[in-house]
Amino acid sequence: MSIAWNDSTPIYRQLRDRVVAMILDGVLKQGDPLPSVRQVAGDFQINPITVSKAYQELVDESLVEKRRGLGMYVTEGARDALLKSERERFLREEWPVLSARLARLGLDLKQLMGESKNEERK
């Protein structure tokens, strides 16, 4: 598998973000095993230390746990915890910017929701 990594963020960080996205999208559910470090290293052609580093980040964030002799598993409640922290981040960082832009363009929420319903009907 070929992956285009961007060169402004370390690869282990990008790998961590991928797993996070997979948990949020429900592709990886709680209790699901993560592929082994070897497997990921081989699939993505990256060195195993990079993969271990990404997995360690996820362990530090309690999104993934190591089960002795079995490997890495998505923890119970990982998705809820992620949803909570991602929602908080959205409200803290993205919403003020977005809300200011909506005000500048003179758009209100009701109008926008109406627009998206029209889109769905098409």
């Binding site: 990594w5 060169d7 402004s8 370390p10 690869i11 070897r38 497997q39 290293a41 081989g42 699939d43 993505f44 052609q45 990256i46 060195n47 195993p48 230390i49 990079t50």
Partner: protein, 290 residues
């Protein structure tokens, strides 16, 4: 590759080799730790193969060299039990059958597992009854790799292992190496001209130029030391004042490559990127053939 380490897999001090008046290796120092994947990168004739030959005990040299605690000049037999090697030139006799190759390596190498080798080959189109001359270039490399991966050796040396192979064979070569062979007790030294394909696999990088090491660092250290900045024309002079390693032009902007300049100073000039190993190599080797 820290300077001081207890038991490096390879330790070289003032390693030198002359061919007549030509210095193929000129006082090279380096350490390679266990569990690393080291890329030895250099232009043709820079001394890569000579360095590998010295490590394998295939050539005489001056200076100090210890490989897995052995002296490659005097303890080649002991060393060979722990080391395996894929050369850029095919060495299997063309009349040999695959089955016979497995029997032969099993007979000469105490740490070879024929079962493992057959299991690796089961994933390929190679049959036990085939002769080497019936195999394509890619299949011969697959056979080599299967023979070598079935040896429980501590050090694997690969000299241009994927030279002349198509991209499918090259990808699957590194994929098997990472998924089926490599672990933290093994060490791999690899030379290749296809740097961009292996840069994420490497843990350490060594550039060799005209017999000397032009760079020797972990990939993490490389990421911290070097930065590429895309600079608008109005700030180009300020960027040049910081003495970049290299400057190239893209779409009217200048891309500068810096070594060891503080990130905060560079961020004022423009957007920061991690340079690719290929870009770093080209910048470091400027003037090699001139």
């Amino acid at each position: 590759m820290t300077a001081q380490s207890m038991n490096p897999v390879v330790r070289a001090r003032s390693l030198s080799k002359r061919y007549g008046a030509m210095k193929a290796l000129d006082g090279v120092d380096f350490d390679i730790e266990a569990g690393r994947i080291v890329g030895l990168i250099g232009p043709n004739g820079a001394g890569k193969t000579t360095a590998l030959k010295a490590i394998l005990g295939l050539t005489d040299f001056e200076g100090e060299l210890s490989v897995l605690g052995f002296d490659p000049r005097k303890q080649r037999t002991e060393l060979m039990e722990q080391v395996c090697f894929i050369a850029d030139v095919a060495v299997l006799p063309r009349w040999l059958r695959v089955r016979e190759a497995i029997e032969f390596v099993g007979g000469v190498h105490p740490r070879f597992s024929p079962e493992k080798c057959r299991a690796f080959l089961a994933h390929t189109k190679i049959e036990p009854g085939m002769r080497v001359r019936e195999l394509s270039k890619g299949m011969i490399v697959q056979l080599h790799l299967a023979l070598v991966m079935a040896i429980d050796a501590k050090l694997l040396v690969l000299d241009e292992p994927t030279l002349g192979l198509d991209i499918l064979y090259r990808k699957s070569f590194y994929e098997s190496l990472l998924s089926d062979y490599f672990d933290e007790n093994k060490t791999i030294i690899v030379t290749t001209h296809q740097v961009e394909e292996i840069e994420h696999i490497l843990t350490d990088l060594m550039f060799i130029q005209a017999g000397k090491l032009a760079l020797s660092a972990t990939m993490d250290a490389v990421g911290e030391r070097y930065a590429e900045v895309m600079v608008n024309p109005d700030k180009a002079e300020a960027a040049r004042a910081l003495k970049p390693l290299n400057e190239r032009q893209i779409f009217g902007k200048s891309i500068f490559l810096f070594d060891g300049i503080e990130r905060s100073r560079l961020a004022e000039l423009g957007e920061l990127h991690k340079p690719s190993v290929a870009d770093l190599f080209v910048a470091t080797m400027k003037g090699t053939y001139a």
